[in-house]
């Protein structure tokens, strides 16, 4: 299938356009459906398929920026942004992204055996910790959902506890739109850390920023969603730019993935309307663990098997979501015809 092979001018290698679009598509479907970016598939997948780690992260961040514009247009939730918090999110995230990017570029100068640089194993081990940790947590969450539902029902009459503001080191900041007063360092810590993860791993960081905004900073959920989108947009733009300055963004690969991701995101977002139930989360947890397995396989030199595992898991998950979406769509059509 030579006609599907494209030359990537910055990475200076031939690559299958089909794989690029498929990676983007899978990330788009998963991100659109589950509400988290799903970019944690992209960096490992690009690396498994032959991108040096710095290029994989830079290209991933470029595609995240493009995708965040699509997501912002789609959700139209920018009206829910706490602008003051949003401005601080940009400052914290930009410093964090730059710090992460600097660490990656520093690691990329250190050659190790096999022609790789230290950035490869360091990022892969970080991904293993992240993906296995997240996957196991989600499995635990799924396994204990009934117990938690019972506990929640039992305490329903008790007023909800205020978010715990663990650290009140001055200066304190007040955010009128969110109705919160919190330490400057908690705000900066959250955005710096998630920005660092973006720059270091090539992820959007929403899976940490969203819970942190709600439970650590104490944002109302609607404002947290809007502020998270706002933050990803600017952190993605800065990540795209700074990795571009460092010369490790393959824009052609990023555009192919963005096209796939945008189509996938529309399907994923639409599927939310038709697919209900907690069961799909179990599949998502398994998908995350399989992504972790693929990174481990790559680290231990089993690259072909790693490629099959990551693409097989991502495409299977997409196929399940699309099949359920189609079934739901047909059922809705049939119900409309019956009336």
């Amino acid at each position: 299938m030579d006609f599907l092979t494209v030359y990537l001018p910055i990475a200076e290698q031939n690559f299958s356009a089909l794989i690029l679009v498929a990676i983007g598509f899978a990330v788009g479907v998963l991100g659109g459906f589950f509400g988290v970016g799903g970019a944690w598939v992209v960096t490992p997948a690009l690396n498994i398929f032959g991108f040096p780690m710095a290029y994989a992260i830079g290209t991933d961040l470029a595609h995240i920026f493009g995708k965040s514009i699509v997501a912002t247009a789609k959700h139209r939730k920018m009206g829910n942004v706490d602008m003051k918090l949003g401005i601080w999110s940009i400052i914290g995230s930009v410093i964090g992204v730059e710090a992460g990017a600097q660490v990656i570029m520093w690691l990329s100068t250190m050659k190790i055996a096999g022609g790789d640089t230290l950035a490869g194993p360091v990022v892969r081990y970080s991904y293993m910790v992240l993906l296995f940790g997240l996957g196991i947590y989600m499995l635990y969450d799924y396994a204990t959902k009934d117990k938690r539902a019972a506990a929640k029902a039992a305490t329903a009459s008790v007023a909800a506890a205020a978010p715990k503001k663990a650290w009140n080191l001055p200066p304190m900041m007040h955010f009128p739109a969110s109705g919160i007063t919190i330490s400057f360092w908690t705000v900066m810590g959250v955005f710096f850390f998630t920005g660092f993860l973006s720059g270091f791993l090539g992820v959007g960081g929403g899976f940490i920023r969203m819970p942190a905004l709600i439970y650590l900073i104490g944002c109302p959920t609607a404002i947290a969603v809007g502020t998270d989108l706002f933050s990803v947009l600017f952190a993605g733009a800065y990540g795209c730019w700074t990795y571009g300055v460092k010369g490790v963004v393959d824009i052609v690969a990023a555009i192919y993935m963005l096209v796939g991701a945008s189509i996938g995101a529309q399907i994923g977002v639409t599927a939310v309307k038709y697919i209900r139930g907690y069961g799909i989360r179990l599949l998502f947890a398994i998908m995350i663990i399989l992504a972790g397995v693929s990174v481990a396989l790559k680290q231990f030199g089993l690259t072909t098997m790693a490629a099959w595992v990551v693409m097989g898991a991502a495409m299977s998950m997409c196929a399940i979501i699309m099949a359920k979406l189609w079934a739901g769509f047909k059922k809705e059509q049939a119900e409309k015809m019956a009336h």
Binding site: P9, A73, E98, W106, C240, G244, K246, I251, A254, Q266
Partner: protein
């Protein structure tokens, strides 16, 4: 005394991100900053990207950021239209857990 500790903590925390620059990354990333990619035999689009990359990384970064933003906007608009045409209006999405 408490105020002194607050000031010390603030100064220390403000200094933390500077560690990222303290490693003199400008020198160590020279491999990438001065890298030149081949432009012979490329099609027009690839030639544009490759020559911009070779001429100035700063200009390349601006081009990449602007193009990704514009392409994202175009795709968002186009896919929205297509979905509306085939009858899947997803303009009012309500997320549920």
């Amino acid at each position: 005394m408490k105020r002194v500790w607050v000031v010390i903590f603030n100064v220390l925390l403000l200094g933390l991100p500077l560690l990222a620059w303290a490693a003199d990354p400008g020198e160590k990333t020279a491999d990438f900053a001065s890298k030149q990619v081949k432009i012979e035999g490329l099609n027009a689009i690839n030639y544009f990207f490759a020559s911009t990359y070779n001429d100035s990384k700063m200009m390349f970064a601006i081009v990449v950021t602007v193009i990704m933003g514009v392409v994202g906007g175009i795709i968002a608009f186009a896919t929205d239209r297509i979905l509306k045409i085939i009858g899947m209006d997803v303009s009012k999405i309500e997320h549920h857990e």
